[in-house]
């Protein structure tokens, strides 16, 4: 991310062209234009509250997208993130409502689930040689089913009747709910939700990890030329598995935030998580012409999706057009990345 457009063009042995500008800044300009348009066209869009709402709406998908970015970096893909998140949400709810545990136990249970799913994904892909898309697709379906088994398909809320006829009397702890609902004062009282802080911290962490540590560097090398990385002494298999563990843990953090926001284990929620997160990560390829998965681009991509949805909602666009718009934006972003910058290697 540190290299400028001019350096980048020079590195490819030519001068800057209009096309380089389009590739480099196209998405940022598009984002600014989009914000300007909504600010004029939709009443109340240009306000701190609206901005915060956008951030809050992208917090969960953003966290998931950062995780999937790690798998994209090593040349893989993770389709199971959405169902890892909902499984974590159900697990947190079950731990607190049915097992009457505290917030710490619930959070730890979620993180363990994410890590274990990531390990299994990595093992399937690296050692069982299942193609990444298929392995994580299988895991997605497995988890969608598994998360419904303990309650026989019911959502989890305080006072629910369990399959054996007993009543679950546990409650979501206040500390846990604060993760999704508490707002921190920032110039304006009660402005910034904790989930947004979590997103920003995780984004900074993964960005630093990928850009500045030797582990992140080697993950990019593995994704670009696995054999070269192996001959340079990298434990390629371990790096790949770690990428899926990161993805699983991030997805489970997303699930924790989701549970904390909803305050119940709702089996119907989280349907859009996968599409939104993958869209954010892939849009991230196009940001600043990186043409590779990167944390900053993913964050911008998540905001882009959030702005678009919030704007459309405020302009009273019907909900069913939103997926279409998201899909269209994703396709345009992919064209930016692969066709225009001519580096479609993945």
């Amino acid at each position: 991310m540190s290299s400028s457009l001019a350096e980048r063009a020079a590195a490819r042995g030519r001068s800057i062209t209009l096309r380089d500008y389009a590739i480099g800044y196209g998405f940022i300009i598009l984002l600014i234009g989009l914000i300007a348009y909504f600010a004029i066209a939709a009443d109340g869009f240009a306000s701190p509250q609206s901005a915060v709402f956008i951030f809050q709406s992208v917090a969960i998908t953003g966290v998931l997208a950062l995780g999937v970015t790690a798998t994209l970096v090593v040349g893989g893909f993770d389709l199971s993130i959405g169902s890892v998140a909902t499984s974590a949400m159900m697990a947190a709810s079950y731990a607190m409502v049915v097992l009457e545990q505290n917030a710490v136990v619930a959070v730890i249970a979620c993180l363990v689930i994410g890590a274990v799913v990531g390990l299994i994904n990595g093992w399937l892909i690296v050692y069982m040689r299942v193609p990444d898309l298929l392995a994580t697709l299988g895991m997605m379906f497995l988890l969608l089913g598994l998360q419904r088994i303990p309650t026989e398909g019911r959502s989890i809320a305080t006072g629910m009747t369990m399959p054996d006829g007993s009543v679950a009397n546990g409650k979501f702890s206040e500390a846990f709910l604060a993760l999704g609902r508490h707002r921190i004062d920032f110039f304006i009282p009660n402005l910034i939700p904790v989930s947004v802080v979590v997103l920003i911290v995780l984004a900074a962490l993964i960005w630093f990890f990928l850009e500045y540590t030797r582990f992140g560097r080697m993950m990019y090398a593995v994704g670009s030329n696995e054999r070269a990385a192996e001959l340079a002494g990298a434990p390629v298999k371990a790096y790949k598995i770690w990428a899926y563990v990161i993805s699983g843990v991030f997805a489970s953090i997303g699930g924790i935030l989701l549970a904390a926001r909803l305050g119940r284990g709702d089996i119907a929620s989280g349907n859009n998580l996968l599409l939104d997160a993958v869209a954010a990560a892939l849009i991230g390829y196009a940001v600043l012409g990186a043409a590779k998965p990167n944390a900053f681009g993913t964050a911008v991509g998540a905001v882009f999706v959030g702005v678009l949805l919030q704007g459309l909602t405020m302009m009273n666009a019907p909900y069913y057009t939103q997926d279409f718009v998201k899909g269209a934006v994703l396709v345009v972003a992919l064209v930016f990345t692969f066709a225009l910058s001519g580096r479609g290697k993945r």
Partner: protein, 503 residues
Amino acid sequence: MGADAVFRVDGLRKSFGQNEVLGGIALDLYAGEVTVLMGANGAGKSTLVKIVSGVYARGGGTMRLAGQAFDPGSPAEAIRAGVVTVHQNINDGVVADLDVATNLTLDRLSGKGASLLFKPANVRVEARAVADRMGLTLDLKARVADLPLADRQMVAIARAMAHQPKVLILDEPTSSLSSAEADRLFALIDRLRGQGVAILYISHRMSDIRRLADRIVSMRDGVVSGVFDRKPLDYEGAVNAMLGRKILLDRVIARSSARAVFTAQGLQLAPGARPISMTLGAGEVVAITGLVGVGKTALAETLFGVRRPLAGTMHMDGKPYAPGSARDAIAAGVFLVAKDRAMSGIVGGFNIERNISLPFLKRMSGFGVMKKRAERAAARRQIGELGIVCRSEKDELSALSGGNQQKVMVARWMSQASRLFILDEPFQGVDISARRDIATKLRASPDGRATLLFVTEIDEALETADRILVMSEHAIVGEHRNDDIDLDRLLAEVAGGPLTSAA
């Protein structure tokens, strides 16, 4: 002989941009004869094959098949005209998921007059006829993917022969076959020769060539450098024409080494191969030469820990050395510049600086965080030392010439001190000036390490090494000190003559 050639190529030229690959090739193929085409990598063999098989258009010259002008616009036209090619990659010639019968008749499924419906019974009858002509006794219902490689190869050839061609081109057909499997292939080739097919056989394996050749044509740098058709065939002359000295470049002054850095005892690389023992000394540059496919890369990979020897032991500085991975090897100070930089060296998304630092990230970071300044300093130092032509250390490798890309690969592994520095075909796709720069650097900076080069071209060995070892059939068959070399003996060893005469 004496009869007119079935297939006649004259003055064939081909250029890619500025780069002339074929500079006027003349080649005659006769019915009922196997003509072997030899040539090192980059000699233009595959370009020639691609022109003859209709993949590339020719740049000049004439081709005549049975007296008629032969001018294929596509591979399909070449096949229809009677020139059929079986390519090196066996799986290009068969559809692995279909059964043998369907594969043998595959070309009838498409094209004019093909039946709309697929009739398994008819297919099997036709396939049986094709198989019988070839003397194949395969289960026609077997899936090709389940067959051993040799059988797949047979199916690919039989499929090609279903067109009843006048000319059959076989591009390195034994490169992935065992010797028993190869024997079956040779029997098939004998049968085709008996049927009057003109066969062009491209190979590096001397044992194949001795077994099959009626004539040998050697190619070098895009021209025919020798035609050998007088019996008994002059195999050493053919190798010499392909690899021998071109121009006398500055000879190196051979050094000897007193102190051993690396020793190997009884290393066995392949089943049935004679074990390899060798000692590499401090400050010494040793080149191992031999034809393609004699196990040079296998030996390089064994020393670097990415392949296990079947038997034998190795020592570094007197201590046992048994690397289990590239990582172990690097930790022990054994570095490898691998063959084929695009496949196994260059990280495409990285610039020069990041490509150079790749194996040494740990040494260039503190608590896992990269020390970018140290990284840049190392890259700049290496760019200066090897004379890499670039704008800055931020250049991407795709912006560099092949020679400079290779310099970056060498620079990567010279950026830290090693005990044993291995380079596998370091001069492939490298221009002469870059090659000299690299060779000079290797000789100028021994630093008490042993340097081991694997090269096919004998010139490259003569230009860089103090000592030259010859490999053949996964074993070391000769050793020469590079000051007053008996080139005839060296070539005889490369050509894999009877071992008794070499000794």
